[in-house]
Symmetry: C2
Subunit: 345 residues, 2 copies
C-alpha cells in the first residue's frame, strides 16, 4: 500500500460549553512525520471512540489531564507499521497504539503492542479484548464482586463495556439485568442471554426495573447516571456494590441540575444500606489483572460464551459526528472509525 | 443495695417530625420484671446514648428496624445482676447488656457479657472498648485503610468514635486532622495529639482545612455530613476512602434540602477521583475483627496511647434532654446516662 504524502488529523480547536459541536474540532493535513531510531511510522486502521474523551475536552481536571488546544485529539488505535526503525517490528505488522485522531503517526516501538491477526479480529484490541473489555472485567470482578445468584444491573448495556459486564456476570453465576435505549438494543441483549433487558425510554421503566429485580440489586455497574441511577438507587440491597465507570448522561452538563439537593439522600442511602460506591478507571487494575483478563476473555470469545458487536464508521472526517452520536447513545456496540483499510479482514 | 418495687422506663410515645421533642418520649413506672430460668434481673448503671437512636425513632427503614411505638427505647447498657436464674452469673456481677432506657430489665444470661471491673472502668464497655470504639477501629482500618504518611480527616472528632479514629490513625502512622465544634473540643483534640484540630464553626473553616491537609485527604471518616462534607469533598485525593459511619447533621431533616442538586457533582467526583464511599455499621465486622479490637485497644489504653472522655448525665429522666443535645453536638466525649449508682468506682 502506497503511503500518501500527508498526514490527516483532527485537532481540538476549542473547548465545548455543554454539547460539543463541529466548531470544537479542526480537520487539517500536516507533513508526514518521520520515525527516529527506535520508532515506527504507523498508518491508522481503526480509531476507538470512547466516552472518556468528552472529559478530556474540558479544561477542568478529570481523571486524565485535559487535552491540549490545537493538538491532535487523543485516542487508542489499531495501526499498521509502514516504516520501522526498530528491530522488534517490520512493515506490515499490526499494532495496538495510541495515535489519536489522525491517519498516520510516529510512536516509539516499545510503546506499541504487536497484534496477531490470526488470533482475533484486530479491531477487538480496542474493544472487547482491549480497554473497554478490561474496564468491564476489572470493574465488575474487582469492585462489583458478583456472587452466584446475585442480581447485577448494568446501564448502557448494549455498549462495549455494558455488554461485557452482563455476560461476564452470567458467566460467574449471577443474574444479569441490562438497561439500554430502544427496542433494537433490548432485543440484542436478550439474544446475548441477559436474564432481563429493559428500555430506559419506556414510560414504565421504574416498574420494569422493580419486576426485573424482585430480590433487589446487588451490583449496579454505572455507566450513565441520570434517571437510570435514580431508579436503581432505591432498589439496591444492603451491602450492594456500585462500580462507577462513567456518567455519560452528565458529560455535557454545564452546571448542577435544579434542586432539591439529592446528595443527602444519596449519602443517607449509602449509610443505611452499607453501600459501596467506587469510581475507577481500568488502568488501576492493569498490573494485577490484565493477563488474566486476556486469557479468560479470549477463551470465552473462542467458546462463543462472550459476544460483542462493533459499530464501524468510515472515514476520519466523520469522527466528530460519530462522537456526538455516541454521547447521545446512538452507537450500537463498540464505536470505531475505520480511518484506513483493514487488509486483515 | 435494695431493689425498688418498680421499674422506671422511657417509652417512644410518638415519632418525631424533624427535631425530636419531649412529646416523643414518655417516662413511666412499671412492675419490676421477674427473671425466668436462664435469665437474670439487671439493674442499669449506665445507658449509652448514641446518634443511631435517632434513625430508629423514624418509621422508615434505616439500618436497623424502627423502634416500636409505646415500647422501651432501645440502647446498650452496663448493668449489675440483681437476681440470677442462670449458673453463669451471680448477684453483683457487672454485665454489658441491652436493656434500653430503663432502670431494670430481664435478659437471657447468654445474651449478656460479664465485665471485669478490675480490667477497665465498666463504662468503657459501651464506649471506647465497646460499640463506639469498635466502630472507629473497624471503619477506619477495614474501610479507610490508612497508610503511613497519609492524611486522615475525621468529623465529630471529639465524640467517642471520632476521637478514637484520629488516635488510631496516628498509631498506624497516618496524620490525623480532627474537626469539632468549639474551642474546648479543639483544645482537647490537640491534647490528644491530633496533628491538626479545626473548628467547623470558624468562618475560615474551608481555608483552615486546606491548610491542615496541604497534600489533600486520603481518608475521610464521615460522622456528620452537611457543610463539613462539602468542604472535604473537593480536597479528597485520587483513591481516597470515605467510611460513612453517620450523618448526624441530617438526622432531623424532614425533606431534601433546596437545590441545586449536588448529587451529580458527588458522583462525578467519585468517578473522576476513583473514590470509595462506603457506608457501614460495626456489626458487619464483629466476627472477623472484634477480638483483635479488644486486645489492641485495651493495650493502647493501658499504655496511655489511646485516651477517651466521657460525658455523664445523671438520672434516666434526663436522658431525652441529653439525647437532644447530642444531636446538636452538645456532648463532649462519650455520652452516658448514669441510671443507677456505679459501685465499682
Amino acid at each position: 500500500m502506497s503511503t500518501p504524502a500527508h498526514n490527516t488529523r483532527v485537532l481540538l480547536a476549542s473547548r465545548p460549553h455543554g454539547e460539543p459541536t463541529h466548531d470544537n474540532f479542526r480537520l487539517e493535513t500536516a507533513p508526514m512525520p518521520e520515525p527516529a531510531e527506535g520508532e515506527v511510522l504507523l498508518r491508522t486502521i481503526y480509531l476507538s471512540l470512547d466516552p472518556y474523551m468528552r472529559g478530556r475536552m474540558n479544561d477542568a481536571k478529570s481523571y486524565a489531564a485535559p487535552a491540549e488546544l490545537n493538538a491532535v485529539m487523543e485516542g487508542g488505535t489499531v495501526a499498521e507499521v509502514v516504516e520501522s526503525r526498530d528491530d522488534s517490528l517490520r512493515p506490515g505488522d499490526i499494532v495496538l497504539s495510541h495515535l489519536g485522531w489522525q491517519s498516520h503517526g510516529v510512536q516509539a516501538a516499545r510503546l506499541v503492542r504487536k497484534l496477531d491477526p490470526q488470533r482475533a479480529p484486530i479491531s477487538t484490541a480496542v474493544g472487547v479484548l482491549g480497554m473497554p473489555g478490561f474496564t468491564a472485567y476489572a470493574g465488575l470482578l474487582e469492585i462489583g464482586k458478583p456472587q452466584p445468584g446475585e442480581t447485577v444491573v448494568v446501564a448502557a448495556a448494549a455498549g462495549p463495556v455494558g455488554s461485557a459486564v452482563g455476560q461476564i456476570a452470567r458467566l460467574r453465576g449471577a443474574r444479569a439485568v441490562g438497561i439500554a435505549g430502544g427496542p433494537d438494543k433490548v432485543a440484542w441483549l436478550q439474544e446475548l442471554g441477559f436474564d432481563e433487558a429493559l428500555d430506559h425510554r419506556s414510560p414504565t421503566f421504574r416498574d420494569d426495573l422493580k419486576a426485573a429485580a424482585p430480590d433487589g440489586i446487588d451490583v449496579y455497574f454505572e455507566n450513565v447516571g441520570g434517571q437510570v441511577w435514580d431508579a436503581v438507587l432505591p432498589r439496591l440491597n444492603t451491602y450492594a456494590r456500585v462500580p462507577v465507570c462513567g456518567l455519560v448522561a452528565h458529560y455535557n452538563e454545564t452546571e448542577a441540575p435544579d434542586g432539591p439537593d439529592r446528595s443527602v439522600r444519596l449519602m443517607t442511602s449509602i449509610l443505611s444500606k452499607s453501600l459501596t460506591i467506587r469510581g475507577f478507571i481500568q488502568n488501576e487494575f492493569t498490573k494485577a489483572h490484565y493477563k488474566d483478563f486476556q486469557n479468560e476473555v479470549s477463551t470465552w470469545i473462542d467458546d462463543g460464551e462472550l459476544r460483542y458487536r462493533e459499530d464501524i464508521v468510515d472515514g476520519l472526517e466523520n469522527a466528530p459526528e460519530a462522537f456526538f452520536g455516541m454521547l447521545k447513545g446512538k452507537n450500537f456496540g463498540k464505536l470505531l472509525v475505520r480511518v484506513g483499510d483493514d487488509t486483515t479482514r
